[in-house]
Every structure is written in C-alpha cells, then in structure tokens.
C-alpha cells in the first residue's frame, strides 16, 4: 500500500506541469483506478484546498495518503509528490544558466503548456459531474446529460462566474458564499 501510494504520487509529481489545477486529472485517474477514495470526496478536498494554506497538490497528496494509510500514508504520498521536483532541481541548479536558455527545453515546454490548459479544462468536467450534473456525463448523449442537470447547482456555478468576473471576489469568499447558498437552496 505504501509503495503504491509513493509510486502513484511520484508519477503525479513528475507529470504535473503548470500548477495545482493541472494535476487534478492526473490524481483523479489514479485514485479512481486504485479505488483509494471516491471521486466526489476528492472533489471536496480540492474545494477545501482553496481555503486552507498551501498548494492544492500537497493538500491532495496528504489527504489521499492519510485516508489510505493514516499519518504514514500521508507522509509517503506527500514525499512522493515532492521528490521529482526536488531531484530535478538539485540536478538543474548545477547548470542553471544553460538550462534557462536551452531552445529544446523551451520547445518542449511550449508544447506542454497548452496541454496543461486542456488538463485544467478537463478538471472542470470532473467537478461538474459531482455538482452541476448528478452523475457521469456520457460523451454525446445530450438528452441524457440534460436529465442529469441540477439547476440550482448550475445557478451557483453561474453566480460564481459573475462574482469573480464582475465583482472581482476572491476564491475564498466565493467558495464560502457558494457553500452557504448551497446549504439553503439545494
């Protein structure tokens, strides 16, 4: 169990470019196939991560590890997710200036960056499937997807967009407001 946790989060750490949100689909897939925790619970922890200190990736690793094997699990998963960065940086720091101006590295990064935009967008779907829709969306079956729609939750989704864009409210305020509204109207 500990070995699996460590390996899974090591892989997540290694492939997570572009910050916390981009690693969500990576974590999602692994916890689903391993059955570590239910998808919905994972979404909750990501939501809470926006209000607790520290990066989402660390929070997620700690949470999944803790749920799977208590404090030891939390430690292994967290170490796993950090270690790839740690090793890479110790290596890179020795030839920092060469790495910084390397065109091949720049080329690879310029391809990974748009891929991470797609990954973050896919995380929106995962979240929608546990809130705005009551279940997993099925490819192109619009009729069925429409039946799964939870209208009040969609309202909260739209209000959050408006709150962020028009009223420039921060993520913490918006998350708390959404929780309160959810408790009242859903």
């Amino acid at each position: 169990m500990l070995k699996t946790l460590f390996f899974v989060f090591f892989r997540i750490g290694f492939f997570s470019f572009g910050g916390g949100y981009a690693m969500l689909p990576l974590i999602y897939k692994d916890i689903q196939s391993l059955g570590l925790i239910p998808a919905q619970e994972f979404s909750d922890i990501v939501a809470l991560s926006q209000m607790t200190p520290g990066p989402i990736a660390i929070n997620a690793a700690t949470y999944v590890g803790y749920k799977s094997a208590a404090l030891v699990g939390a430690t292994f998963a967290t170490l796993g997710v950090i270690l790839p960065s740690f090793i890479l940086i110790l290596i890179i720091d020795s030839f920092f200036s060469r790495f910084k101006n390397n065109n091949i590295v720049k080329g690879i990064i310029s391809g990974i960056r748009p891929a991470t935009v797609g990954m973050i967008a896919s995380a929106v779907i995962f979240f929608a499937e546990t809130s705005i829709f009551e279940g997993k969306l099925s490819g192109f079956d619009f009729q069925k997807n429409l039946e799964l729609l939870n209208l009040p939750a969609l309202g909260i989704f739209v209000l959050t967009l408006i709150g962020a864009k028009k009223f420039k409210l921060g993520p913490i305020t918006l998350t708390i407001l959404a929780g309160i509204i959810g408790g009242i109207i859903l």
Binding site: S43, G54, P55, I58, A121, G182
Partner: protein, 156 residues
C-alpha cells in the same frame, strides 16, 4: 504566494537579489511540480546547499500537510449530515467555475498560436472523452512542442 516569497527572501533577508528570484520563479514554472515548492527548493539549495533545500521544502510543505489533516479530522465527524452534503454540492459547483476561469486565464497567455489551441483541445478530448491517463497529454504535448521547434528551425 510568489509575491510573499519575494518580499521575504529578497527585501527582508537578502538571500538572493531581484533578478535571481525572477529567474528562479520562471524556471520553477517550467518544471513539474508546485511553483512555490519548486522555488523553495531552489532558494534553499542556493542559500545552504542540499540541507538548505530539505529545510525549505519541509517548511513550505508543513502548513499544507497539517492543515489538511486537521480539516480531515473535523470533516469526518460532519460527513454524514444532509446539510453538509448540500453545502458541498454548492462548493463543488463554485470550484468548477473557479477552475474554468483558471483555464481561461492560462489559455489567454498559453494559446496565442493555432498549434497551442489544437494541443489544448486534443489534450482535453483525450482525457474527457477517451478517458486516457493525463500523463499522456503531457508527453504528447512535449513531443509536439519539440517537433514544432525542429520544424521552425529547419525553415529558418
């Protein structure tokens, strides 16, 4: 978080200068992992070698580590109440919106060219429609970036 780091290590402690910290941030962004953690590892290494890197990493990780365990222990007690379920549906709906905005913001800077847009769409489709592990999106994106770079080089 980055402005916070900058103020502490450049202005207050003078461990590195302004130009160095911007370099460190830029490179931390292009490496896998969390930007703030990556920056901490870099800074620790610069200031006090490998042990410095270990110390700064532990420092930046601990608050996240313990706060989530604290939240978890509280949450377990509340878990099975109907009202908490509803609160969380609301919170998840808000998160979907916040993440959508994050994707749009990043998209504005990362998808200036047509190739970028195609890579983003393919990566989205791979994960959502074909249920492929997201690490393949990263690998394919990297390979595509490399091919585009070589192609440009040949033309010029």
């Amino acid at each position: 978080m980055l402005p916070l780091i900058q103020r502490e290590v450049v202005d207050k402690r003078r461990w590195v200068n302004e130009a160095e910290i911007l370099d460190i941030f830029a490179i931390s962004q292009s490496l896998p992992g969390v930007i703030s953690v990556n920056s901490a590892i870099f800074l620790g290494k610069r200031v006090a070698g490998i042990s410095g890197a270990i110390a700064s990493t532990l420092g930046v990780v601990f608050p996240a580590f313990f706060s989530i365990i604290l939240v978890l222990t509280i949450l377990i007690g509340l878990r099975n109440s109907l009202i908490v379920d509803k609160v969380f549906i609301g919170i998840r709906a808000a998160s979907a919106a916040l993440i959508l905005l994050a994707a749009l913001n990043l998209g504005k800077t990362a998808l200036k060219e047509k190739a970028g847009l195609i890579i983003a769409l393919l990566s989205f489709g791979m994960i959502v429609i074909f249920d492929i592990h997201a690490m393949w999106a990263v690998i394919c994106g990297g390979v595509a970036g490399l091919l585009i770079y070589w192609n440009h080089k040949e033309q010029s």
